[in-house]
Each structure stands twice: as structure tokens, then as C-alpha cells.
């Protein structure tokens, strides 16, 4: 019989223009290429996650992709219960031979866009708008600040979070307002890592003629000309790879950390932001990228000590 695949999105949903969406793109690409179908589910709570995982495992799905750290515990439990089923978990760690945990070094990609922002900023004030105030998002902010400060030591990095509940991912009005407030304080480049709220931020950026930086997937296409770049987190690639490996028979469990070196994160340069990125900027950002890959520059992971060096 054909192999069976499934993707479980977390509460953000498949269309979050962020990492869930990225995961769905990866699965979609796999489907196009292999003609193998997959099941999609969105869960609203941790209890449901376990229920769905168990149902899928019972239905003899071969590989289940669980998107988001919130599913870690449920994957852990079900993986133990169903050793024959394989799991790939994004952004979280679960143990077991049948689990592949994929973590991204968001700080490295964020560092690069921080460098770009610092170069692009005329006012030497750059902004960050985060969604919900959680360590993952703070890690984005921290990498961004490290990149900006490394490029321009005197630079100001203004940071705001939209909120403290899941509603913070769905409040574009506040996302836009935070951007406007930052502009009034002199900020002219903003990195938005806020899901749906970030859409509002980037809208405001466009409206005020400033520069914005997208997150997770390449969001440059949204407002060509006012997008400086996007910090891409290749969840799609991770999903695609994992599905492919299973198909090709070389799937392996274990924990992987994907940074610049592994191609897990990157900055986006395409036709939509070509005009905004100067040759000098491109050179300097790529240099920073090489420095990180080579280990010359070490970007601190906020989550390790729950604090940011800058």
C-alpha cells in the first residue's frame, strides 16, 4: 500500500502566513512531486493533539508531522504508545527512536536580518514587533538585536510584543499600531515576528514608506518595494525532507538543529526586494552569514540562559 502521511498544525492554523503555512507548503511540494497524499488536521488544545495523534496512529499513518512546540508532550506520549509510527516534530523535542525533532536556530537568521536592518536604517533606530511574549519570539528579537548591534554598535533596537495570550497572533490592528508608534520614535526598519498581527505591522510599514522584514516564509512578495527582506525558517524543507526520507527508506529519528549552515534559516533575496538591497548590504550580510557558518561569529540563543547579551 501507499505510505500514509499527516500534518498536524497547531492553534495558529494552516494559513498563519508563518511556520504552519510553511509546513503545509513543504507537504504540498512533496505531494506534487510524489503524488502521495497527506492528511491535514488543526488542533485547538493539547488534549486534542493527543486525541488526533492517537487516531492517526491507529489508522496506520506512517509519518505524522506535528508542527509547533505545543505538541511536544503529546508526541512524546503517543510515540511511546505506537512505536511503529514515525513522527517529525517541529520546534520541540521529544525522545524516541521513532521521533525526529527539528529545531531551528532562529537567532542566526534573525542576526542576518538585524545586520541588514542596521545598514538600511537611516535613523539608526530599528524596531522589532513580536506576537506573543514567549521565549521563541524573544529568541528572534535577541538574534536580531545582536546582528544590528554588531553592525552598528550605537543603534537603538525598539522592541514591542503584541500581547500575552494567543489573541496576540490575531491582532493586526495592534500590530500596525505598534509599528506606527515605533515610527514616531524614529524607527525606520521593523522586523515583524507576530503571525497575523505582523501582517498589520507590514501594512503600516508600507503605508508610511518605511522598511519591513518578514518572518518564517519569504514574505517579500507581500509588499514589494517596502520589504527589506524576510527571515526564512525552512519548516517546509524540514517537512519535505522528512517525508522524502521515509519514502526513500532512509528516515532517521533523533534531534536536529538547523541553522544557517544546515540551510534551516536564511535571509531572503528575490526580485521583490532586489531594488531595496544595495550591493554593499548584500555583501555585508553574506559576509556575516559566512562568519556564522564558519563559527567565527557565535550568535547567542536566548533560550539557553533566558537572557540576551545585548
Amino acid at each position: 500500500a501507499d505510505l500514509k502521511f499527516a500534518v498536524i498544525y497547531d492553534a495558529g492554523g494552516k494559513f498563519d502566513k508563518s511556520f504552519n503555512q510553511s509546513a503545509s507548503e513543504g507537504a504540498e511540494r512533496f505531494k506534487k512531486e510524489t503524488k502521495l497524499n497527506y492528511i491535514e488536521v488543526q488542533v485547538a488544545s493539547d488534549t486534542q493533539t493527543e486525541q488526533v495523534l492517537r487516531n492517526l496512529a491507529r489508522k496506520k499513518v506512517d509519518l505524522i508531522a506535528a508542527i509547533g512546540f505545543a505538541q511536544a508532550q503529546a508526541v512524546q506520549n503517543i510515540a511511546k504508545e505506537f512505536p511503529a509510527t514515525k513522527f517529525v516534530l517541529i520546534d520541540g523535542i521529544a525522545t524516541g527512536d521513532n521521533v525526529s525533532s527539528v529545531l531551528f536556530k532562529e537567532q542566526e537568521g534573525s542576526y542576518l536580518v538585524g545586520v541588514a536592518a542596521a545598514i538600511a536604517s537611516k535613523s539608526k533606530k530599528v524596531g522589532f514587533v513580536g506576537g506573543m511574549d514567549i521565549p521563541l519570539i524573544r529568541n528572534f528579537a535577541c538574534g536580531y538585536a545582536q546582528g544590528a548591534k554588531a553592525t552598528e554598535p550605537k543603534i537603538d533596537v525598539v522592541q514591542n510584543m503584541v500581547g500575552t495570550t494567543t489573541a496576540a497572533w490575531n491582532d493586526p490592528a495592534k500590530g500596525g499600531e505598534l509599528a506606527r508608534a515605533q515610527f514616531e520614535r524614529g524607527v525606520d526598519v521593523i522586523f515583524a515576528a507576530a503571525g497575523g498581527s505582523g501582517m498589520g505591522t507590514l501594512q503600516a510599514v508600507k503605508e508610511k514608506g518605511k522598511l519591513g522584514i518578514g518572518v518564517d516564509s519569504n514574505q517579500n512578495y507581500m509588499h514589494p518595494g517596502s520589504m527589506l527582506t524576510s527571515m526564512v525558517k525552512r519548516v517546509d524543507q524540514a517537512i519535505y525532507d522528512s517525508f522524502m526520507q521515509l519514502k526513500n527508506g532512509n528516515w532517521k529519528g533523533g534531534t536536529q538543529y538547523k541553522g544557517l549552515k544546515e540551510g534551516g534559516v536564511d535571509w531572503a533575496l528575490d526580485k521583490d526586494n532586489r531594488a531595496v538591497v544595495s550591493a554593499d548590504m548584500e555583501k555585508r550580510v553574506n559576509a556575516a552569514k559566512q562568519d556564522i557558518i564558519s563559527g567565527k561569529v557565535k550568535v547567542v540563543d536566548f533560550r539557553e540562559g533566558n537572557k540576551c547579551p545585548v
Partner: protein, 360 residues
């Protein structure tokens, strides 16, 4: 339009059923417009939520939480207080039991640990409701407004506490560590294996007990009498020597404690860790349940099960039918509340005319 001239069976059963039916009819229309067969959808839903034993287990699991939040809102309503803050009280209640467990779960046996953790949940929930109660009683600040504010404050506070203190080092998930097995609530599938792998646990039984106690206290005791008198006529309550402010504060604390206990089901019965936003709106659903169930134990039980079934069945249905997103069931919940909770008289004139004609 007057319910008074209808027999009891009509107001208690016929009208609510007619209303439920109407809500489902509207929902069926929407499902039809979405391009799916309403009848097939309904049968999937009923099958997934009620007929399939495991589905029923999930339905009752959700219902257990809703019974507690529904009771929380109801008891406050009896005193004339509209407690919108059950959500926040449940959230903070979850912190209470978590602190107890993080502290003691490695050293105490389950039979001691579980009651202590529940106590922690109740105490924290009550404490979170104390201030709105106090401000209402002593300063006349609207409890509706203060409890809404306290929900927001709880969300920020809990975010701060969880993110800053509870996430174990090196973990990504915004949640506390997993509690020791001793604290896991016994599951009912131990007694009823037919329920299969569901998180349904003894807190459902506790919820039933809470319903009975609620009914007894409110309708059969002096304190319940005083509570209701206060809710219906504060002047008369004062005249009767009832301390209004004490009643308000104590009621709010009981309401908060019940909301806090609502956390027990999902945190100690299912996830076994405290995570961000775990109440997921159960406190607000409690308002709907209290209103729909008319603050009556049987009503609360039935509406809790109905809502549990909608969540469980709706979720399964959305898995099978790609065109029906789970949000459809949020819409249907709203419809049911609207028809059963606010338009209870819709069919009263017609029904009473029908009955009259029969009499002749």
C-alpha cells in the same frame, strides 16, 4: 407569549427541544451552503460525540470542565453577580495546583497529593476572585468590569510566571515540567474499559458531586436562601439581616474556587503540565452554560454535555469533511445559546395555542 399558562413539561422539555431543533436547522442550512450534506454531517457528529464510546469519553471529559465553570458562573449569578472572570480564575487556579505539584509531587503519595493540589487550585481561584468581590461589595465597582479586567491581568501575569519561572531549562514549550505520575488523576477507563483511551477521569465524578452539592446548598440551606435573597432584592436582604458585603465576597470566592477547580480536569487529568492559555475559553463557555442551564444543576449538566459533544463531534466532523472548518461549531454553539438561552419564548405562543385547541 406567557410561559405561565403552559404545562411544566412544555416549558421544561418541549420548548428547549424545539429551540435546539431550530438552531440545528439554521446550522444545517449553513452546512448545506458550505457544500456538505447536513444529514450526513449530523450523523457523523452524533456518532463521534455520543455513540462511539471513546467519543463519548471525550465529550464527558470536556463536559467535566464546563460543569465547573458553569457552576462558577451560576453561583455568582444566584447572588446577582455576573462573574465574567471565570476564565481568569480558572487560569490562576491552574497555577495554584501547579505550584503544589511542583513542590510536593516527588514526596507525597497520590491520595494526599491530589486533594492538596485541588485545594491549591480552589484557593488560588478564590483569591483571584476576592478582589473583584471586595471591590463590588465595598466600593460598588461593577463586578462585570473588574472581572473582565482581571481576566486580562491574569493572562499577563500567567504569561510572566510561566515564561519566566516555570519552563524547565532547555525546553521550548511554554509550559511547566510534567508532573509526577502520583498526581495523575485516575481515569475512568479503569472501571469502564469500553471508554478506550480517553482522558475522562474522576473529575467528571467530582463535577457531578459538585452539581449535587450546589443544588443542595442553593435551594436547601439557609446560606443558599440568603444568597438568592441577596441576588433578587438587596434591600430585602439587608432588611432580613443578611450581610450583603459578606455574601458578595464569599460568593465571589466560591465562584472563583469552582473556576479554579475547573483547571483540575485538563491539567491533572489530561496534559499533566501547566501550559500557556490552557483554559482555552472554558471560562467563557461557562457563562453560556450557566445562562442556558438557567443556573439549575440539571440544566448545567445537560448544557455542559451538549457543549462537550459539540466540541468533540465538531472536531471529528471537521476532520472528515474538509469543507467544514472547526470554526463552524463555534458558530453553531452561538446559535444554540441564542435559540435556547435567549429566545425561550419563541414557540410559546404557538404551543399554547395548539394546546388550547386540543382542549376544546
Amino acid at each position: 407569549m406567557n410561559q405561565a399558562d403552559l404545562p411544566r413539561w412544555a416549558t421544561a422539555f418541549a420548548l428547549p427541544l424545539l429551540n435546539l431543533f431550530s438552531a440545528l436547522l439554521v446550522a444545517a442550512g449553513v452546512i448545506y451552503l458550505l457544500g456538505e450534506s447536513p444529514i450526513e454531517s449530523l450523523s457523523i457528529l452524533i456518532n463521534a460525540a455520543v455513540l462511539n464510546p471513546e467519543g463519548l469519553g471525550y465529550t464527558l471529559f470536556y463536559a467535566a470542565t464546563f460543569i465547573f465553570t458553569g457552576l462558577s458562573v451560576s453561583v455568582a449569578m444566584q447572588a446577582g453577580l455576573f462573574n465574567i472572570g471565570s476564565e481568569g480564575q480558572m487560569y490562576v487556579g491552574g497555577l495554584g495546583l501547579t505550584l503544589v505539584l511542583l513542590w510536593l509531587d516527588s514526596s507525597l503519595p497520590g491520595w494526599l497529593l491530589i486533594p492538596l493540589a485541588m485545594l491549591g487550585a480552589a484557593v488560588f481561584g478564590a483569591a483571584w476572585a476576592y478582589l473583584p468581590g471586595y471591590l463590588q461589595a465595598k466600593r460598588g465597582s461593577h463586578v462585570v468590569v473588574t472581572t473582565i479586567m482581571f481576566n486580562f491581568i491574569a493572562a499577563s501575569l500567567m504569561n510572566y510566571v510561566i515564561v519566566s519561572f516555570l519552563i524547565p531549562a532547555g525546553q521550548q514549550n511554554t509550559a511547566s515540567r510534567v508532573f509526577a505520575d502520583a498526581s495523575w488523576l485516575p481515569k475512568l477507563n479503569g472501571i469502564l474499559p469500553v471508554l478506550g483511551e480517553t482522558p475522562l477521569n474522576i473529575s467528571f465524578v467530582l463535577a457531578l458531586v459538585a452539581l449535587v452539592i450546589y443544588g443542595l446548598v442553593v435551594w436547601r440551606t439557609t446560606w443558599g436562601y440568603q444568597l438568592r435573597a441577596t441576588g433578587l432584592n438587596q434591600h430585602a436582604a439587608h432588611y432580613a439581616g443578611i450581610s450583603i458585603s459578606k455574601t458578595i465576597i464569599v460568593t465571589m470566592m466560591i465562584s472563583g474556587a469552582l473556576a479554579g477547580l475547573a483547571a483540575v480536569n485538563s491539567v491533572m487529568g489530561s496534559t499533566h503540565y501547566l501550559n500557556l492559555n490552557f483554559p482555552a475559553g472554558a471560562g467563557f463557555i461557562g457563562i453560556a452554560i450557566a445562562l442556558m442551564g438557567r443556573q439549575h444543576p440539571v440544566g448545567i449538566l445537560l448544557s455542559s454535555i451538549l457543549f462537550g459533544a459539540l466540541i468533540q463531534g465538531g472536531f471529528d466532523l471537521s476532520l472528515e469533511k474538509a469543507n467544514i472548518p472547526p470554526e463552524t461549531f463555534i458558530f453553531i454553539q452561538g446559535l444554540i445559546i441564542l435559540f435556547c438561552g435567549a429566545m425561550e419564548n419563541l414557540y410559546a405562543p404557538a404551543l399554547s395555542a395548539l394546546l388550547k385547541r386540543k382542549e376544546k
